[in-house]
Amino acid sequence: MSGLFASHNRIAIVGYAHSEVVRRTSEPLGITALRTARAAIEDAGLTPEQIDGFTSSALLPSSGEHAAQDGISVVTSDWLAKHLGGHAHYVAGFQGIGQLTGSLSLAVNALASGAADYVLLHRALHNPAGKYNDNPTTEFAGDQQWSAPQGFFGALPAIAMVCNEYCQRYGATRESLADVVVEARKNGARLPWSYWHGKPITKEDYLAEPPINDPMSRLDCDIPVQGVGVFVLTTADRAKDLPHKPVYISSQAFGYPLHHRIPLHWTLDEMMESGVGLAQRLWESSGLGPADIDTAQVYDAFSPFVYIWLEVLGFCPVGEAHRFISEGGIDSDRPDSLGTLSGGGAIGNGRLHGLPQLLECYLQLSGRAGERQRPTTNAVMSYSAPHFGGAVVLTNDPA
């Protein structure tokens, strides 16, 4: 497709709920999800019987040896639809790495096509017992034969090499990365539900933390948690009759890997190349551009992702994001900034796979952000890395 998104501002988020974000809990993830789903449906002014669509993505993103169990450590839409009761017409799961933006697109497309009238979008994350990523395997078959024998394993080494290439090429340092992490933790500390509530850190705290994969330390990575977020979506005409100000989906765009490489070998150039294409499609199909955006909630599971997203989306020139941030460009306490991590992001909440980004866009645009409320008409959120993930433009002004 080209030109404006055919469902431009025709589909809206009309309610939400989220759980507390905790490190671990004995409560099965399915129970947390059910409770949160019921709260979101009530928030939207609906009843469970009215929900006829369910979309999600259920991946447990660990490189450890954890057997996923539906209702315990993952929650699929099939599970939630069955356990919530009601009469689903459309139940779908997104399979891929861009989970939240991918499953949001399933919801939007189901509503736009008429496959469902009210869709419940959820994401449920679990932190299994034992070490999250440790893997005792001693012989690797299949894809990982190409990487594990070198000791190249899990997501972090590749992200650290992307980060280092960025730092070497553009002059960013650990002091620059500290500005991202301190901002995320500052905002997360202000959120009563966040795992990091009341626990901001200083630049000195950050710099005192030893790197684990240079130049990145644990503080550059989101912490595994248990938490659930749920959004209720419907069509714009139905949204008019519901209690909260609708937040419309203006456009959505997705990125794809461009190069064949060994597993998890993500590179800076590929992220940028794929991301520039994604951003072009996003802005063209939204009818808006970066200058129209009041807040950009970009994904931050790993701190350097913030640089990459701000640059590909056009909020600052390539190679300049670290300076843009150091000069206050995302500082949530400055009214003229992008407020990029005002919802705490992943680093300020925990490993919630894009939920904090979508939640903060929704809360700001619906006027429900409380003490954090900033004047907001148009927002953008992004999830994952640009060559796998997606981005969504949202607005409260569909005219």
Binding site: S63, G64, K131, N133, D134, N135, P136, T137, T138, E139, F140, A141, G142, D143, Q145, W146, S147, A148, P149, Q150, G151, F152, F153, G154, P157, A158, A160, M161, V162, N164, E165, Q168, R169, P210, P211, I212, N213, D214, P215, M216, H259, H260, R261, I262, H265, T267, L268
Partner: protein, 138 residues
């Protein structure tokens, strides 16, 4: 014999690991378009041929550093830290990027674009894995 994880060769990779055991870097080359790729895929990533019939052919193993990281914590068992992982762009096959260890040690002073050449780490009597060393700067 190290305690490090070993590869399990299969029919798509056996010639690669057999050559590595002899300390020779052989990469899969598409029989249709002649381009190298890594790892082999069910189609050729360059010409999209569904019958790439990859042949494993020796390459120089010379390349340039694109990036690196010192691994100070690993999620794998049997892997001692710290060590340097490097992202290498091959000189003659610039579309190929390899990730291996740099055997010069974690304290090596590195720069983007530094010249490296392939080397091999013996993991067991049967298996060696490609790594790199800094090429002689003189």
């Amino acid at each position: 014999m190290t305690g490090r994880p070993l590869p399990v060769p299969d029919e798509t990779s056996a010639p690669y690991w057999a050559a590595c055991a002899e300390h020779v870097l052989k990469l899969p080359r598409c029989s249709n378009c002649g381009e190298f790729t890594l790892p082999p895929d069910v189609t050729c990533p360059h010409c999209q041929s569904p019958e790439p019939d990859f042949k494993f052919e020796p390459v120089s193993g010379r390349g340039k550093l694109r990036s690196w990281t010192v691994i100070r914590h690993s999620f794998l068992s049997g892997v001692e830290v710290p060590f340097l992982l490097v992202d290498v762009q091959l000189d003659e096959q610039p579309h190929i990027r390899m990730v291996g260890r740099l055997l010069d040690g974690p304290e090596a002073q590195l720069h983007i674009g530094d010249a490296v050449t392939v080397a091999f780490e013996d993991l067991s009597p049967e298996f060696a894995v490609p790594a790199f060393t800094l090429a002689d700067a003189s």
